[in-house]
């Protein structure tokens, strides 16, 4: 409908009804874009400028006046000015007294100033009602109408009436205001547009580290070892074979790391006998980025699937398969069908497919719009029950892949076991501990702790007391 808004412009200008006037200080890019959007949505707009004759630049429909003249026209003044230039507002103290000043400014770095721009403005203009808003919206997006990313406008301010009026304006522009409380939230709001996937940082670095480790581990075993001992050039394996070893191992390890913190938390709760003792902060942080870990694991699993499915198309594989056939013909050797090999090959593939399928389901349910539609009970069912089933299937897939070779000493190269054995360590640990935790006796204690029961006698009274509370 943004297009609609744009096209309605010429008509809306002549609207018979008297519309609210909004004043914008500053004729920079953001100021102009915001002004244009407001004109399109039926506001009357007045720009305040140091040099009002510059109006040739203005979008038709808006007046450009001096700062003080413009300010007199409206209760709401939007400051599309850099913080560094707020000083000039001192001259306007009288005119701006009692008005709503909307701070839309952003900084260049996170925590650039000790005081947020909006709080600095409020200190500068104690007579005005400062509201922080619009800083998360991009000028380009306002111009183009292509508000693909966030339509959310975080709003904060100490005067709730002023905040409410700004939120009304936000709503009328087709954006979603989110009240963030008093001006004390301004610092975070100003930092928000500068952040780059903060919750993804730890999972990203962790998975990068795992990738690099497993990559070189496999290079040593599968490229350097044969080169040293058999003088064979296996470097071509770098392009697919090694990547297809690295991806599933990283995926399985990350998936297990999604469920490890829950297991650790349960052990800590059992150990302390209460749920009210805070977890160490690393565990808290870990638990908050489980979703990101899981999604990165899904990415690696997806790559693993693609790298596996292309195997029959690879030159090396076709060459080897042809050679095996030729040798079989030449040597006239029988090639009896082995039912156990067929079982092993098929069941390891089948487990992998089922595991991947459930993993994709988990990924889909973590899409914001899907997870918003489900109740908590459903969300927990999917993320915990289905999640553990996925982990079990993927671990079984890896175990069966090993098959008969599993832990046989012949696969050791320079004492290094096959890479997939490393991949099994964390998942198996998690599954074993989880299995112990869901045994009836332990599970019952854990449930009681999670419902607020506490073991320590000194709190027993409170526990009894708390029984009536939710």
């Amino acid at each position: 409908m943004d297009k609609m808004c744009t096209e309605a412009l010429p008509l809306t200008m002549s609207s018979p009804e008297k519309q609210e006037t909004i004043c914008i200080f500053g004729t920079g890019d953001f100021g102009r874009s915001l002004g244009l959007k407001m004109l399109q949505c039926g506001y009357s707009v007045v720009f305040g400028s140091r040099n009002p004759r510059m109006s040739s630049l203005m979008t038709s429909g808006a007046e450009v006046l001096s700062y003080s003249e413009a300010a007199q026209r409206s209760d709401i003044i939007i400051l599309a000015i850099h913080r560094e230039h707020y000083d000039f507002l001192r001259e306007l103290t009288e005119v701006l007294s009692g008005k709503i000043l909307v701070d839309v400014s952003n900084n260049v770095k996170i925590n650039q100033y000790s005081e947020s721009n909006a709080e600095y403005l409020a200190r500068l203009m104690p007579g005005a009602h400062v509201v922080k808003a619009f800083n998360t919206i991009s000028a380009w997006a306002l111009q183009s109408g292509a508000l693909d990313a966030s339509r959310q406008v975080f709003v904060c301010g100490n005067d709730s009436r002023a905040k409410q009026r700004v939120m009304d304006v936000v709503r009328n522009l087709g954006l979603t205001p989110l009240d963030q409380g008093s001006l004390l939230a301004a610092k975070e709001i100003e930092n928000y547009p500068l952040q780059l996937f903060p919750m993804w940082r730890f999972p990203f670095y962790l998975s990068a580290a795992l990738c690099i480790f497993f990559f070189f581990y496999c290079v040593i075993r599968e490229v350097i070892y044969p080169y040293v001992y058999e003088k064979e050039d296996h470097t071509f394996r770098l392009a697919i074979s090694i990547l297809n070893r690295m991806c599933p191992i990283t995926a399985l390890t990350l998936l297990a790391l999604v469920y490890l913190p829950g297991v650790i938390a349960a052990i800590l709760q059992l150990y302390h006998g209460t749920k009210y003792r805070r977890f160490p902060s690393w565990l808290d942080h870990w638990m908050l980025c489980r979703k990101q870990l899981g999604l990165i694991a899904l990415g690696f699993a997806f790559l693993h699937v693609l790298y596996t499915l292309v195997i029959p198309m690879r030159y090396y594989v076709r060459w080897r398969s042809r050679n095996i056939t030729v040798i079989q013909v030449m040597t006239k050797k029988e090639n009896p069908f082995s039912t156990s090999s067929a079982w092993l090959s098929d069941s390891y593939i089948s487990l992998g497919i089922l595991g991947f399928f459930l993993f994709v389901l988990l990924g889909i349910t973590s899409l914001p719009s899907v997870s918003n539609m489900v109740t908590w009970r459903e969300f927990r069912f999917v993320q915990s029950k289905l999640g553990y089933l996925t982990l079990i299937l993927c671990t079984a897939h890896t175990l069966v892949y090993g098959g008969k070779r599993f832990l046989s000493p012949s696969v050791l190269r320079w004492c290094l076991p096959s890479a997939y054995i490393l991949a099994l360590i964390i998942p198996c640990t998690v599954l074993v501990v989880k299995f112990i935790l869901i045994m009836p006796c332990i599970d019952k204690t854990l449930m009681r702790i999670r419902q607020g029961w506490e073991r320590n006698t000194e709190f027993s009274k409170s526990a009894v007391n708390g029984k009536s509370d939710i």
Copy 2:
């Protein structure tokens, strides 16, 4: 931005502005979590407790008082107490008179009590304004800030002013209030968090039944039959071959079952000559869960694609392909290229790919956030036109798969036809009936009926009258 809220805590406490005070009865897990969240979002919080000295447990920033003292501090009292303990409120009748009591309780089972908790509370405290809210939010989610699942808070109550104030609180906590009307809705709201995918239940059981039937059907034909007659051990087929037969058959049948109710409804409307006669309730229910049926069908189709793509990697397939080559070499037989075989093989694969592609498109457009962006005309275009195209492509894929063997008696085993023939029954029926329904003469009558026209003469007057109405 939840993190923001958390971090803003110490600052917000010293906020110069006077904030609204909210009273919470009960210091259980949910009460504490809600109180902490409210503190973070700028409210001042007072806990009411049987034993106020227990304040060591409280989050700093909130006072813990006796019930009556706490209640005097605020207009809004949140009862974080189990229904079984509401009795004690009788002692506070006077203090609570005229106040807003927010019932946040949940039950353990669906329809546990004949009267909803909120209505029971309203009967207990006739002088207070009871509002049901917050019961769909999890304490853990409030604590961790990880509100991945539903941020929706269903609110109901008989006093609209009280409801409005509670909805304002909900909004300020960053949650989405949804007004559900009077307290009579409380029962459903209390049942809501206990439900586990109610709309998915019928599609799930149906597809499970189909799966099991087709699984055993294929086991009989492809494992037991060769074992009985040729003493061959084909059990290894269970892992992939049989699953890869079961999945596409179930997927195609379910996809046809998505479109069958629409066809039945059209026939019923034609038969009755009106759209105002209610459908039988099984048809209504069936029509409401078509989306779920379609998504489960997509899941099976996805599994079918994966199971098909791994075929060239399977031990059995590689073994057989090698043997065929060896025999060709040994017998020095020619292997002429058959263009018709190439056409059959390629076109059946190609139809399957196109069908799967459209199926995935349908799945993507049924994501809540995507379907929310399209108009009704677009939604119907995708779900009906593209949907039928998908069904046609998938049915054609199955028909061409049969190819020359189709209905040849040689494939009968114990009089059982190939499984894919069973898969074709419902889709072909649906397509044939739909084809009849879209023939101009029938389609025109149907369109008139759907726009409100009625055949029966007794209503002809109303039909003429209704012509002016939308």
Copy 3:
């Protein structure tokens, strides 16, 4: 929760609290559905009809009265009547004076009348407050409760109090009102439900044209040429081989066309030395449908992946591979392993997989619910950085695919180069120009222009002045 609403019906009817009454003129399908929904959500509903005795048709719970009687019962009158029949309202001018008339009508064609229905109504009834609403909601959806598609209700009107009251009703029905300003927006709101993917039209036709062109190009080279010169029947290639050539070429070309307008825009900005000169309208339109172009490209890439993965299963491929083996055995020729072939084959596949993986990531982040969660900085990072990386990987995939044959004259057929060479033209151009644009000297100028700097001397003053503005 819609189901809840439905089930709550019988109870809500007996609600002790006095609810607002809403009047609906017209007992057509939409009128009835809306009335039923309102009853379910706790409103009291009165229908106005030409022939009130027809009440047998009505849902129990609503009264049916004559127009004037019904209108007296409520402040809000919903006109579920076709525009053609608005005339009769003249008789009710007095009764309707000061009331809120809600126009819910739609037209059959876009821009059917020069004046929107709502404006026509406002001219007809100058004493009433006309509000446009509900026209984007389908009667079927209201009936079934299956509001899968848009829950958004666009509202516009000249009287903001009247608009506000209608928006409250919309909200209470569980729908999302979107204020679109004055009645001048009614025309666009009435056109909205009639549109069919307007933003997708240009990308769709463009990709269809590309598809057709490349399809016939490949048919000429790979089916007609061998038929003419070698009398070989290669028609079976139409089903997969040709499609699998057409899909990747179209995908890569479309992907490059996503980034071409940005590059053209940058060149125009550099040429004009300002960002304030409007782009030609074709470029504006092109830039607004980049997302759609990208998603269609992803669709073709997805088809390419599927068509590639089935290669080893095709009859033709298995036949050829068997023949090669047989010939190798017969001629007793050696088949030495070529490391360079292995490298080429593996790295071209690997680049394709990585490119497709990033492409899928881009597609996921363009889902509305995902892009709504990210900040602008994050959105730009994904769409620009990751987007270019995807383009580089896919172009490299195609280049390496060519491998040694690349530009060798032996592949020319009727002077036509291989199709993949055509696919490389636009991507390589885009990448080369982009590479020039990000060279420090040019990039710096571009950044300054994008921050509002202008080269032309006449504006230099304004530029200096504008430096303080955002």
